[in-house]
Symmetry: C2
Subunit: 279 residues, 2 copies
């Protein structure tokens, strides 16, 4: 355990640049994960993708110099492979955090070879097979959203079941886009609760089912956003539906998770792990 | 420029573990981007999320030890904050690449404070506003996929237009999920080409339009996947439709990009930059 230190005054805003020679997604994701460890600080964030020339690098360095006020050194999170581009950032007076370079040297050491000099190989791969898989998965997800189609459920990797507004749709879409999985989702409504079994449409595929639940308060908030002051969004109705859904999951041995404190990314990772969808 | 070195024999398969105390997405994304620089090597990849206890760490270390064969040291890409967990990986004989620790120390130095000890703060934030934004965006994308609805186009952040199978749907969904943007997409068909202007349904929102194109060969491949040996998938038809679409974009000053060598992530980043959708 480290002892918490005194935080600097929070009115100081520090500029942070996520700069990449590709999309900037990795720089932004890892950079934000790192910054989240300093909740007392105030950051103004800028994402700058596709910086793969010296001219581009100099334009970024210019913006960094302008941002350097109040003695607050800007921070540059960089995923660029060119040492010349990095040198421009270093010369701008920013604190440059090189998210690739050091790790590439570590890899070179263990692999006994040097990194190739091609830029942005990872995202640039126009791999047509991967592209087909994602496209098929997204189209499958759209077709099977909210129980709209029961066609080809036999090829689903997972069927997400839950009462309305528990997070089925965004989680379905994330699993499709990020992992290329075939995901259907099916809403549990009052009609589904008279019996003890799963809804007949998905009962055949019980082993593919994964349930979502949440807290009544959270569900009420989310439903209120769609239909304010309705029975649908009332705390009593939400409490009842969630209790019935959880009973249904337990009786039918359907694994489930509570979405109330989880991001879409976390729910997706839990579902993949629980359903053993990747080796 | 570094000189390429002699590559080790490629039949050796090296095990790589992406280990995280959260979802593993960052470890996997950055780890893969780093590995892509060593195209001569053979990696067998494993993603292990939610390792936030010593017991979990020991189970991973056990798998790492088992994977250490043929003198091929396994590689562990780690995004875990606990030094005790990292120590278990180090003791397993793997090459451990710590994607967080070193950078946290760099940040502590420039910020003059210590990182807080809470785990997985970034993805764990159940931020209801962000959640609403993503959910709304995904639902908007589903409603407006392939020109299905013209409702509320005035609130769209961007309207993607293109002939069938140029990548509208996955790109739309990625922009919605990753960035919470409201994205509609509209197919350009033969009916849209007799006139010089944009299709009447989207003409009012010309400034929100972004076009996609691709190469005739690629389009023919992708269409063949859906309808083999049809006029629709013929090279002649694909060539014609793409030429007309590009003419339409140029005449109406609609920015556009060629999707044939780009990933969904790259297309999204280009669209965001070109349409200035983020500050």
């Amino acid at each position: 355990m480290r002892t918490p230190s005194v935080l600097p005054p929070t009115h100081l805003v520090r500029d942070v640049f996520f700069v990449s020679d590709s999309t900037g997604i990795t720089a932004e994701t890892l950079g934000r994960a790192l910054l989240a460890n300093f909740p007392g600080a105030n950051f103004r964030q800028h994402t700058v993708p596709f910086i793969d020339t010296l001219d581009g690098a100099r334009a970024v360095a210019h913006d960094v110099r302008k941002a350097r006020v109040d003695g607050c050194k800007p921070i540059v999170f960089a995923t660029v492979k060119s040492a010349h581009i990095l040198a421009e950032f270093n010369a701008s007076g920013a604190m440059v955090i090189d998210l690739l370079g050091g790790h590439l040297r570590e890899l070179e050491a263990v692999l006994g070879t040097t990194a190739s000099d091609q830029l942005g190989q990872f995202h640039a791969v126009g791999d047509i097979e991967l592209y087909f898989a994602r496209m098929r998965a997204v189209e499958y997800a759209i077709e099977h959203d909210d129980g709209q189609s029961m066609r080809a459920l036999d090829i689903a990797d997972v069927i997400i079941i839950a009462p309305s507004r528990c997070g089925k749709t965004p989680t379905t879409m994330y699993l499709a886009l990020q992992y290329g999985l075939l995901v259907a989702n099916y809403p549990l409504t009052d009609d589904d609760f008279p019996s003890d079994g799963l809804p007949s449409t998905v009962a055949t595929y019980a082993s593919k089912c994964f349930g979502l639940t949440t807290t009544p308060l959270r569900l009420s908030q989310v439903r209120h956003e769609r239909r304010p002051n309705s029975t649908y969004s009332s705390l009593a109705q939400c409490t009842l539906e969630l209790r019935r859904a959880e009973d249904l999951y337990r009786r039918n041995r359907v694994p489930f998770l509570n979405s109330s404190t989880k991001s879409v990314e976390e729910m997706s990772a839990v579902i993949i792990q629980s359903m053993r969808l990747r080796s």
